[in-house]
């Protein structure tokens, strides 16, 4: 019966000891230990989260880079294409202008040639007229050096005038 009869002394001391131990441990042991555990768990969770976030950021960054690269590439292509068209246009324009210019030059050359020809023709005509006059004068002079020829000539003139 002794075994199952609780003694007052032990009850008193157990209660007192337990409560003192509880108060001491709560203040000086569990508070810092549980706090440290909580903190560590929180920091681990945060680190994991940060890592996950960094990973995601990396991915978005990568994607952005890819996009940027793509954009740069297309930009380059566009610039090249534009440059090509501009160059082509320039070449074409130059060609056209050259053709035009040459046409103009040809036209003016033809004009000049025509003018020169005209002038030459006039010159030739003048020269011929002058030569024929000289020849005629020389002939006349030769013809009129004797009397009979003069009279013949005058007679022919007279005839001509009469006929008129």
């Amino acid at each position: 019966m002794d075994l199952v009869t609780p003694g007052v002394g032990l009850i008193f001391w157990t209660a007192l000891t337990f409560i003192i131990v509880l108060l001491i441990l709560r203040r000086f042991a569990w508070k810092p230990i549980l706090g440290a555990l909580d903190e560590r768990e929180k920091s681990i969770a945060e680190s994991l989260e940060a890592a996950e976030k960094a990973k995601q950021e990396m991915a978005t960054l990568n994607l952005e880079n890819q996009k940027l690269l793509q954009e740069a590439k297309s930009e380059r292509e566009k610039i090249l294409r534009d440059a090509k068209t501009v160059a082509e246009r320039l070449v074409n324009e130059a060609k056209e202008r050259a053709i035009e210019e040459s046409n103009r030059i040809i036209a003016s050359a033809q004009e000049a040639i025509r003018n020169e020809k005209q002038a030459a023709m006039t010159e030739v005509r003048n020269q011929v007229a002058h030569l024929s006059l000289t020849i005629a004068e020389k002939l006349l002079r030769n013809e009129l050096s004797n009397k009979s020829t003069q009279i013949d000539l005058a007679k022919s003139f007279m005839n001509e005038i009469k006929e008129n």
Partner: protein, 356 residues
């Protein structure tokens, strides 16, 4: 690998050493006198019960007279409003009486202190169990405050060594015992109590296993006090729904309530009562089994039986080491379960509603 083998051998050696120490006192005291018959019941009761002195061993002097060797402990008595404090050695192991003023104290054959004139005594002596409990308290206070210092010192770093071992247990209690029963919302309030409870019971269980130690956690006064604390914590934190469930269980016909309410009401007391009995019976039972096995050696007075009994004691010791941890775990688990039931909010009723 080698260190593990060495450790194993060392612990084995220590175990035998322990057995070697624990056996002779019993031999010297109970079985020593050839003519005297060895009484296992008295020996076991002597070991399991509380006492005013910490008995270590007995020796026989040249005249064949037996002398017990024990550590005297303070006796503190309230008798008729007067406080008497003296060392238990004043009784000379029960052979002499102690006179303090008008009070005459005597030790009866069961080791209880009685006042010669039949005055009522309130006895709050530092008995063997109390002393052992103080040692246990000092151990856990020292252990966990130094552990806390380690946490402060290397904040943010990984735990190591002892810190790691106890952190494992603390985290286990928190995550597997307390949080599932109390819920994320309330557990922080009760966690210090439950952790202290676990380690307090455990350390006292372990101290009880040391040969020559006291059976503190196997004493009904000890288990009763802890059970009463659980009872108080549970019922003080009990919310409206908890009391509602006890006196007016929802969804039960009124006629049935007349029977159910008293049963539920008794349930408030039976739960901590079961806690008290469980711890007391498990720890005291373990001690009795080990002491019974040891008794075989003295009953049969044979080497063979002695060795067989020692082997049995080794096995039982390992089992008791496990039981020491298990019982403190169960006490903590059930306490958190009871508190959890007392502070549970609505979920419980929803569950009921779903079942109907």
């Amino acid at each position: 690998m080698k260190t593990y083998t060495n450790r194993f051998l060392l612990s084995f050696f220590l175990l035998f050493l322990i057995l070697g120490i624990s056996v002779p006192p019993a031999n010297a005291r109970e079985g020593g006198n050839e003519g005297e018959k060895f009484n296992p019941k008295d020996m076991i009761m002597h070991h399991v019960m509380d006492s005013y002195e910490w008995h270590l061993l007995d020796y026989k002097d040249a005249n064949g007279e037996e002398h017990p060797v024990s550590i005297p402990l303070p006796v503190i008595l309230f008798t008729d409003g007067s406080l008497d404090v003296f060392m238990s050695s004043s009784f000379h192991h029960g052979k002499e009486q102690v006179i303090k003023g008008s009070n005459v104290y005597r030790m009866d054959e069961h080791g209880h202190i009685k006042e010669a004139n039949g005055k009522k005594i309130i006895d709050i002596s530092i008995t063997k169990n109390v002393a052992s409990m103080f040692i246990g308290a000092l151990i856990i206070i020292w252990l966990f405050t130094s552990l806390a210092k380690a946490y402060v010192k290397q904040a943010g770093k990984a735990p190591k060594g002892t810190q790691n071992f106890f952190e494992m247990i603390i985290v286990f209690i928190r995550d597997e015992v307390v949080i599932p029963n109390l819920g994320e919302k309330h557990y922080k309030k009760y966690l210090p109590y439950l952790l202290t409870l676990f380690f307090f019971i455990w350390v006292n269980n372990m101290l009880g296993l040391i040969p020559g130690g006291a059976n503190t956690s196997g004493n009904i006064a000890f288990t009763m006090t802890l059970a009463v604390i659980t009872f108080l914590v549970t019922n003080i934190s009990g919310n409206k729904e908890y009391w509602g469930h006890i006196f007016w269980t929802p969804g039960v016909p009124k006629l049935l309530m007349i029977i159910l309410a008293p049963i539920e009401f008794i349930g408030i007391f039976t739960k901590p009562f079961a806690l008290m009995i469980r711890l007391f019976a498990n720890i005291t039972g373990g001690h009795i089994i080990i002491l019974s096995l040891v008794s075989f050696a003295f009953i049969f007075k044979s080497m063979t039986v002695g060795f067989a009994a020692s082997a049995g004691v080794v096995v039982m010791m390992f089992l008791e080491l496990f039981v020491a941890a298990l019982q403190s775990y169960i006490f903590t688990l059930l306490t958190s379960l009871f508190i959890g039931m007392a502070i549970a909010e609505h979920e419980h009723e929803h569950e009921h509603a779903e079942h109907h």
